[in-house]
Homo-oligomer: 456 residues x 4
Amino acid sequence: MSVVDVWPVGSMALLTQVEADSLSLSSQGDLYDLYRNCSLAVLNSGNVTDNSKELLDNFSNFEINVIRNERGLKLELINPPPSALVEGQVIKKLRKHLYAVLRDIVQMQMAKDPDLDFIKKKYATESAYITNQIFVNLRNANVLKAGIKPNLAVCWGGHSIPQNEYDYAYQVGLELGLRKIDICTGCGPGVMEAPMKGSLQGYSEQCEQEKCRMIGLTEPSIIAAEPPNAMVTDLVIMPDIEKRLEAFVRLGHNLIIFPGGPGTAEELLYILCIKLCKENKHNFLPLILTGDKKSEGYFKALEDFLIKCFGKDITRYYDLIIDDPKAVAKKVKDNNDTVLDHRTITHDSYCFNWDLFIPHQLQIAHPITHEFMHSLDLSRDQEPWQLACNLRSAFSGIVTGNVKENGIKAVAAHGPFKLHGEKEIIESLGQLLESYIKQGRVLLSQKEYKPCYVLE
Amino acid sequence: MSVVDVWPVGSMALLTQVEADSLSLSSQGDLYDLYRNCSLAVLNSGNVTDNSKELLDNFSNFEINVIRNERGLKLELINPPPSALVEGQVIKKLRKHLYAVLRDIVQMQMAKDPDLDFIKKKYATESAYITNQIFVNLRNANVLKAGIKPNLAVCWGGHSIPQNEYDYAYQVGLELGLRKIDICTGCGPGVMEAPMKGSLQGYSEQCEQEKCRMIGLTEPSIIAAEPPNAMVTDLVIMPDIEKRLEAFVRLGHNLIIFPGGPGTAEELLYILCIKLCKENKHNFLPLILTGDKKSEGYFKALEDFLIKCFGKDITRYYDLIIDDPKAVAKKVKDNNDTVLDHRTITHDSYCFNWDLFIPHQLQIAHPITHEFMHSLDLSRDQEPWQLACNLRSAFSGIVTGNVKENGIKAVAAHGPFKLHGEKEIIESLGQLLESYIKQGRVLLSQKEYKPCYVLE
Amino acid sequence: MSVVDVWPVGSMALLTQVEADSLSLSSQGDLYDLYRNCSLAVLNSGNVTDNSKELLDNFSNFEINVIRNERGLKLELINPPPSALVEGQVIKKLRKHLYAVLRDIVQMQMAKDPDLDFIKKKYATESAYITNQIFVNLRNANVLKAGIKPNLAVCWGGHSIPQNEYDYAYQVGLELGLRKIDICTGCGPGVMEAPMKGSLQGYSEQCEQEKCRMIGLTEPSIIAAEPPNAMVTDLVIMPDIEKRLEAFVRLGHNLIIFPGGPGTAEELLYILCIKLCKENKHNFLPLILTGDKKSEGYFKALEDFLIKCFGKDITRYYDLIIDDPKAVAKKVKDNNDTVLDHRTITHDSYCFNWDLFIPHQLQIAHPITHEFMHSLDLSRDQEPWQLACNLRSAFSGIVTGNVKENGIKAVAAHGPFKLHGEKEIIESLGQLLESYIKQGRVLLSQKEYKPCYVLE
Amino acid sequence: MSVVDVWPVGSMALLTQVEADSLSLSSQGDLYDLYRNCSLAVLNSGNVTDNSKELLDNFSNFEINVIRNERGLKLELINPPPSALVEGQVIKKLRKHLYAVLRDIVQMQMAKDPDLDFIKKKYATESAYITNQIFVNLRNANVLKAGIKPNLAVCWGGHSIPQNEYDYAYQVGLELGLRKIDICTGCGPGVMEAPMKGSLQGYSEQCEQEKCRMIGLTEPSIIAAEPPNAMVTDLVIMPDIEKRLEAFVRLGHNLIIFPGGPGTAEELLYILCIKLCKENKHNFLPLILTGDKKSEGYFKALEDFLIKCFGKDITRYYDLIIDDPKAVAKKVKDNNDTVLDHRTITHDSYCFNWDLFIPHQLQIAHPITHEFMHSLDLSRDQEPWQLACNLRSAFSGIVTGNVKENGIKAVAAHGPFKLHGEKEIIESLGQLLESYIKQGRVLLSQKEYKPCYVLE
């Protein structure tokens, strides 16, 4: 048995006795498991796997203890992954991430308690309450920087991508870094790592590598499958995918979508749903789709699908830039200037897009069940934002069936999810998903992919 | 009408919409008044007066608006005291203090809401809840520094003192600063300023002036009468005097008491009460009484009073050092080392003395009424800590009658407070108070002092 | 025998073997004595005396060894003044100053060697060579900050001043500090300390105490009599009084003259001499004379003397501000803006006034002998700048006779210096000097002053 | 014509008028050309070519002007390489490098002047003078850090290497960075870049990316062919290859040699020559040869050659580690500890190995002529260090003939250099060089390589 002590970094260890005890008291229960598993995922940073279960099985004898002492909170790691250690010490970034996990799980626990009456007294709507909670989470994680001019680019895209796409995302990151633009991603491998790596290089060429922020937003149910890559400087664990997505769009000043699989499609539809809401007509939330020369076909297919669903006009909601990292970075920089002007005029915060309207449906967690998937209306006979919302749920379900523990179990037990809707849409969706599978965009692991869905 | 804008400093301006609105919504009500008055006191830093009312009257046309905007929260000051401005800009330290007031008043407001059932579920006792809240207040104010070795000396003493006592406290501060020992006081003039000034000089001679922490702990009901002096680097507004005193003793690693008036006596009895509790037999909380040559008589009188009340043994609870700043600083340094060892062994936090037992009676605010004052049992026929507790309340009442708005009003309406108890104690108390009045230790202002109490 | 080791701070200890040996090789000779005496003066910081000899006698058994080792250069102090130590360690500022002494004395030694042919090849004139050397000295001491906007105020005035003048200079310093204006003085007590102390306070109120620069320019022959005060952050030892004065006027963006004695008069005449040169007609070098209410008479006498010597027009060469620290600071700030504009237009360096013309006579050291003093022509029958130059020499001689070792010896041996010139000037000079003696502006020590000069 | 202004960074722009004029005065002469060409090389950072001439030809209309102004020295670039600009501004690292070039060329110019008599007076030997000058160069470039514990690894190896070797060197750099070990290289591409890139990543994982020092030592005659890579944080231009090599071995605490071509062999023989000197018997200067699995054959051939020349014992002078980056980093760390102990005992500086003996022959620049190459004695019939010295010269000549302007011209004019010596040595040398050519280790460009030497 190997035991490694981790001493607190910064102010992370200043928990009250009650906060500290909320983890240790419950050490036999769910909260401890959640805490342990997220911590393990963090320590496993850089060791890529698609399957949370594999990770958890590989380190089944890993344990973590939180010990209050004179310097704050000490963490005691039993049998940590050896890759997390250098000369017997946990790598400092991982130490910081371990405390980020601690911080965010305590925060989740604390936020759980207030009764609804209390909340209703203060917040106009449940929507408002959720948005406030997200703000509090991000503030707590110290990623909101009041007064700093808009400079955060959210990068979305596949975690399982070929070398050429990795290199392209790196080049985009480099050009962003040279312009001192920070990166925010979902914090795993692939497109979530490449632009961060490029950005560090770019910042370093501008002699400001210490200022390079690389924010990774994750959630407990995905962190094990996509552990934070080695670049992430600020790790935040949001309670669930809905709050995580809301955090992305309220934090980011630009959204860049690189080629990816169903998860990326989910993100794209999430943001299109928001942009299609008439309430956001005047909210400037720039969206860029980009990839290298080889990805031209990929984007062609995606755009065809979108046009099929929403009509030709949908192409005005984003910029598509093929094979030109410098052009992407310049566009982002220009957009930042526009965001700056816009926020200054509307007096909305530079660091949190309060004004953005997000439909309540996007804010609440729908448990992905066979019934829910079956109930989704995938037809054009509704408001465009509503269709986008349903399509997003469809992709979300597919991701769940592919990589999330509960989804994998549900599909194993009850067979693939059934999706149905307007014929043209369903066909187009089928083609898109087919092409993803062929391009190997669905899973990291080598095993042959068996779809977790049936289109009807 | 002059209007001055204050832009946010650091992260202080990151309020949620609900937090920000809690101030502006209530702008017609009590919270706004509290906020306005504390802000005015801060802006009046350095302009010494004894009478909150005087200050408030002098600037009756002062107003403050909190305005949410793109960089966070902007404060708009209408007719601020001219002394707060340099070249049309509010002095930066005052700007920071304005945001500290904002932070702490929002915090108080937020902490008010949770219902007791909720609290009882989590906290073993009300005492534990109070201590937790104090920790949260201090953490929120960023004055808890996990992992830093014990180095905080709390300085208590008069705000109305002669030049020689000021100079002596300065010398003590200088010797502390040369040893990189930080200062925490009640943040007003006199002994609350002098050691801070000396400490900055000492730190500066050690080329670490930027690390010199000067923490000022105050409370809404006293801040106007004793506005933060120009040295305070970290201002914290605790909800009331009880929480403020608890904050002092849990934060500080050494308590130094300089000559002072009834407020200082209150503080001394508060700490003796705690030290006399048998639960604290093994908790190391060093106490030093010190002053220059001329103050020898003052301390003689005080010691006589204490021996009368508690017997000869009481002198073992503190060190009395006359006219030797270097000896004080060396003693503090030695004590810091002992605190370090002690906390390391007991695994209690370096920056917050969780283990210290504080009687519940000291934690809760007794409204100072004529009845309450009359009910105090000032006799030796009880546990020593209980007598100390009652004596402390007596002095607290006298301070309230002298300088706090509500006290002044009560005394004006119903005549002086009546105190009674064992004859010897009452006599000794009378002599002590008499000597304070003669030495001019009771009020700053020039008017003749009319006692707010009668001893029976 | 007490021995204290001082370890290097920063890069100061990076001497080549030859540089290091230049001190140790000569340890039996003049260079060692110079080094030892300056180091002793530094360690004696704050212990004020007027008489270098007294200081040297008090610590006749002090020695200092320079020892090359693995971390750079270690200094070994034998029997250092106890006031330099806190808990057995030399105060850090003094440690830095010890290395500043080392640096500047090595620099002086290195600069001595190049033969004149070599210099002539490179420099148009000897004047240009001297100015270059001063720049090199200051650059070496890291007090030149390229690109920082003009913000350095040189403060001149007496080292022996009454409390009210000290307080006034402190207030001026406070107002300067609140406006983030740095101070440069001759680094001793009195007016050389007070504005620095005020400035630290002002900077601290603006939360920038770590940026507060307090430059002390001294020279080997005066450092023992006027050891650096405890505020000086950057100590520079210039080779002699002429280079020191040139350093002041090329470094400073404002010159402020407080009341003082003959040394201050020397400085005033030095700067008037420069301003009277027609070559400097367009060089903006602002000069402010200021003091509190009580000093009105002092300045009246001074102004009368100047008008007698140079005519009414001389009053346009300076601003005289009585009893208004805020007005002084505002004037300095306005002047800084003008200097900024002026240098930007002329492309002269913000941090070194290359364009200023300084007559060669002011650049070279005249040994103060009885012959030299006797030869000075103090009549109006010459160019005004030439009269200013001669008057400055007269005051310089008087300072030398009062406090410098060689001067004291010469006067002891040959009687007072004899000065003569135009009757009106001599009379006026006599009155001025008389008033200085009466006001106690000539010497710090208590002994009765016996003038070192005779006016004929 | 494009014109870009570069404003000074830090203190680099504080030149005296004479120093500044030394560049502009001579702007028609050699110094300007040298300055211009080095600046162009810096701006061309990252654009790899083998041939200085090509670079210079591509930007024949590039010019650079040094303009003294109010903020120091402004550089005016006419027609700079577009790759040096981001949004119209020169990348900051390149700006710093431009000032490094300025600094070092002014330094070279200044150091040229003192006459020999002057030097002889101060320095025991010419060797001592050279070593002092190297120290002064490095101190001036701010790469000597007194008091920092030994942590600098010099990495030598090919600039033209296959991807697998690049990746391996990156991994070694990563492991060094995780242990906070700094890198020093010759500052070009290939092995001079890869470990730096890895090191930044490692430092970043330890959250200290701002402390990652990557020193590039170059020289005017090679900088155009091997412009500083994008990682270099501290660029130093040494006067010539001999001073550059001496700088490497006095600065570095570990020397790591990766696979490379003739330049790398030159470096290896240089260091073996020094280690073979009996004067260095007790000087600890650790040497590690390392490469990935594929490089095993390369090192076999090299070791065979060394054994042929110096006998079996030579293998004790270095550690050979194949395919184990972690083992390399651990060895380096252990060695650093030993260096620390050793220097502490001998009191030699942590940051400059003064005690190391370097034969005078290695210190002086031999012009590479056909005669000199012909005169080299490559036989075992001499002291081993002398043979190493001559072999080193042979490789040096080959490098010169391959990539340096003068060498290319000489070979073009007079045919290949002729080398001769003991048959076995010459044969073995021939095999080694042959294998280099086959492995493509000699030149970056695609053209077929025509050897610049003949072995006889």
